[in-house]
Symmetry: C2
Subunit: 329 residues, 2 copies
């Protein structure tokens, strides 16, 4: 990598809008190698309240034991502090609302525990609305409307990546603040149920939010054969459609997760689970295979002719703007 790209990457606030790895000190070291200023780290998927609290307790231990590598992010200045201290700021997030069970007040509890991003549904339906792999497409429930209102009030980013289409459109309309697809690609590039139709991508941008392009192979047109260059094509396509101010990166890295974990997240509460063929084993795009490879992204965007300003927006500035608006009381 040339010195110019290296300098730019080092001076940039770099945020991965979503990782869901098998967390360990080794991964935190990779985040440092990748120059990650902050990462939205998933700490609840299908877990209930109690199990999620257990996961948060694990993070408390990690913040203590790996305090040279990571630090918790509760507000936007914490991200700037992480940059200054050469640490990776950890934004704790959920990919589902099972953790709040049937109790709206648990949102306040989790906000108090530092949760700052919540995806409304995972793959299937829940008490809030429908996931992208549910049997039918329907909107937000009455409870879901109240959840949106409460997340807006508390300052928790609404993530709609896995959410079904009608629930997504309902949520964009209902939210008083910007929302995000932290990790999803355009369906018009790769027709996968987890990817998003243009209508939804544009609505998120109009709401002032961001779309985090993802490297998860099944969501890329070339699947397991994708390269970093193919991923930059996705960013190009998104930037063309919704503008440089609304594109971000949400890798969806699943580093160190065993096959049993994939089986669990895909079958979930049911015995059969939704029909999502992941085409195992997954192979991340050459050039961006782990969180340590983030500098390659900056370099590839420079080579593609992106301005330094636009690179800084895409690599972290855009999501930081959204977090400022959403987290601010």
């Amino acid at each position: 990598m040339d010195q110019n790209a290296k300098d730019l990457h080092e001076s940039t606030i770099v945020i991965d809008c979503l990782e869901i790895s098998n967390w360990s000190e080794e991964i935190f070291k990779k985040m440092r190698l990748g120059g990650l200023t902050a990462v939205n780290c998933t700490c609840s998927i299908l877990e209930n309240f109690r199990q999620t609290v257990k996961n948060i307790v694990w993070w408390h231990g990690a913040f203590d034991n790996c305090s040279d590598l990571i630090m918790p992010v509760h507000e936007v200045p914490d991200i700037r502090e992480a940059k200054k201290l050469n640490k990776t700021g950890i934004i704790l997030g959920f990919q589902n609302t099972s953790a709040i069970e049937d109790n709206l007040d648990l949102l306040t509890i989790f906000h108090g525990l530092g949760i700052r991003v919540i995806q409304l549904t995972y793959m299937e339906g829940n008490l809030i609305g429908q996931g992208c792999l549910e049997r039918f497409d329907a909107g937000l429930t009455s409870f879901g409307l109240e959840v949106i209102e409460e997340m807006n009030r508390l300052g928790i980013l609404i993530d709609l990546s896995h959410v079904g289409h009608r629930t997504t459109m309902d949520a964009i309309e209902a939210s008083q603040k910007p929302v995000a697809f932290t990790h999803a690609n355009p369906k018009s590039l790769c027709d996968h149920p987890r990817n998003k139709p243009d209508e939804a991508l544009m609505a998120v941008a109009e709401k002032g939010g961001v779309v985090g392009a993802t490297i998860f192979p099944p969501f890329l047109p070339a699947g397991n054969k994708s390269t970093l260059n193919d991923f930059i094509d996705v960013i190009d396509y998104l930037a063309d459609m919704i503008g440089y101010d609304h594109v971000a990166v949400g890798t969806d890295f699943t580093e160190g997760q065993p096959k049993e974990w994939f089986d669990w997240i895909l079958t979930g509460k049911s015995k059969k689970g939704p029909a999502l063929n992941l085409n195992h084993p997954l192979k991340n795009p050459e050039g961006i295979e782990s969180t340590a490879d983030f500098p390659n992204l900056t370099s590839a965007l420079l080579n593609r002719g992106y301005s330094e300003l636009n690179i800084q927006k895409i690599m972290g500035g855009n999501i930081m703007r959204v977090l400022s608006e959403v987290w601010e009381k």
Copy 2:
């Protein structure tokens, strides 16, 4: 009441397909006065697993402390035994699936604890499907399909009284065994979201199931001004439409429940709750105001010209036939 009606009532197996009272020895005494052979008693509405287990523990105490009045029903011969012993058999049932949370295996646990009737949803949407007061009408979820399959396998009656229309129709189609509306009236008589369109009533009958006509005032055309005679009109109407073999009685008695309880079941997990105006205070139809008044039903049906055989079917025979088919392995 004349001796003929009295004798008929005393010789009949009388089953109330649903009561949801503030359970006490006093109510069990009223059940005995009413000549009730068995009652489907709700022991979970919005509760989760742990809270529901607590309710079941309460029933264990009641079975011990009131063993002269009540006994548990786990299979159809228990109903006959209750008749012989002059006790009221208690069929424990749920009016929601919140108790199984997100775990199909909890159905086996609850079957083991004696639960024999489960309504798929209460008023709102849940992990299985949509309730009749949810913002939208949609079908069974993937998880819901598996719940039906498991309830069929275990032998738990599927109750669809509060369930939204498309989820109701989906469940009737998916079930391999008869299903029931334990407590609902025809929407064509009284246009209330809790009442059922003819299409659904006929589908339940075609499936071999029963419809329990209910005395809950908001679901009767004359509301709080209804009389026993008005209730018999509902039975007449149902018998005409779906036949004598498919009509039953599910009073939905809420004896001794305070206003706070109504507030709780109607708002549930949300702060606002679904829009159901109950027109408090409720006044049960004159002549059938408590579970002790059941003999008046037999008498009124006789006066209306029903044959003894049809009275015995409606008062308990039909639901017992369904329970035999559903509970049998």
